[in-house]
């Protein structure tokens, strides 16, 4: 009886630890996704797309850079806009999908000096 109980306990411990080990997630895809979003926003800023705030041009550039596996949403607001500019590349995430996000401040010099904030959200299709 003692032996049976001991063996059962050992087996239960082994099975549970195996289950939790196999469930451990690889964090690289999430970090890569966040960095991709952040890089795209930086490139948009460096290329002057944010300063022009032309929704069609920004969407085209995002679609150019965004890997096919991702969808992205950006919101631009600032002193030079009367209302926030929302740009989406695809459908909204479904279910419990991980959504990465971030924001970046940028400066505009024309038509008058000011600043803007761009926020982004990125997720797997």
């Amino acid at each position: 009886m003692d032996a049976a109980v001991a063996i059962s306990i050992v087996i239960v411990v082994l099975v549970i630890s195996s289950f939790y080990l196999s469930r451990s997630e690889d964090s690289l895809p999430k970090v890569q996704m966040m960095k991709t979003g952040s890089d795209i926003i930086a490139v948009l800023d460096n290329e002057g797309f944010l300063q022009s705030s032309n929704a069609t041009d920004i969407k085209g550039e995002i679609n150019d850079l965004l890997p096919p596996a991702y969808n992205m949403r950006v919101s631009i607001n600032g002193t030079f806009l009367s209302q926030a500019l929302i740009i989406e590349t695809g459908t909204e995430p479904v279910g419990a999908t991980f959504i990465g996000g971030g924001k970046r401040f940028f400066v505009i010099t024309s038509p008058s000096p000011g600043y803007g904030i761009i926020k982004f959200w990125i997720w797997l299709k």
Partner: protein, 158 residues
């Protein structure tokens, strides 16, 4: 059956049971330990690769004009501004030996390769050693170079 025979039989059954539990346990323990060590190694590589790619594409280096005084370089950075690669710094990197760069980047036991391509995957520059090891982490970052968007690929391997 005598008492002695029963005692021996009992011992044999106990030993068999013990082996039946001990052998899979030892095997599983080793397997788990290997998986943990491999996972930790890979995580360390991932973190290092992200840190190094961040350092290279976001920082100007130290001193900021290190490309003019390569021998006095304390830290490498290829950016002229956030995620905009400087052509001068890229040329200076090309002129620096791999071992010097390895020391400046403090990659430790790892080797690395930097590859810059345009969105059509045509190479602009390659630097470092090609992967010939057991495991690698490849990080792709978007940057601008001379006003054009390009892909900065950083591979860390061992």
């Amino acid at each position: 059956m005598s008492k002695a025979q029963i005692g021996i039989l009992d011992l044999i059954i106990a030993a068999v049971l013990f082996m039946a539990v001990a052998i899979p346990s030892v095997y599983f323990w080793n397997l788990t330990r290997d998986r943990l060590i491999t996972g930790m190694d890979y995580s360390e590589m991932q973190v290092k690769a992200f840190q190094l790619s961040d350092l290279l594409i976001k920082s100007e280096g130290k001193p900021t004009k290190w490309e003019n005084t390569i021998n006095e370089t304390l830290a490498l950075g290829l950016a002229e501004s956030d995620r905009a690669i400087s052509p001068q710094k890229l040329s200076a990197l090309n002129a620096t030996s791999y071992n010097t760069t390895r020391k400046l980047l403090n990659v430790g036991i790892y080797s690395f390769k930097i590859r810059l391509t345009n969105p059509g995957n045509e190479p602009i520059m390659e630097y470092g050693k090609n992967f010939t090891g057991q495991s690698s982490v490849v990080i792709e970052r978007y940057v601008t170079y001379e006003g054009e968007k390009i892909i900065f690929e950083f591979t860390l391997w061992k």
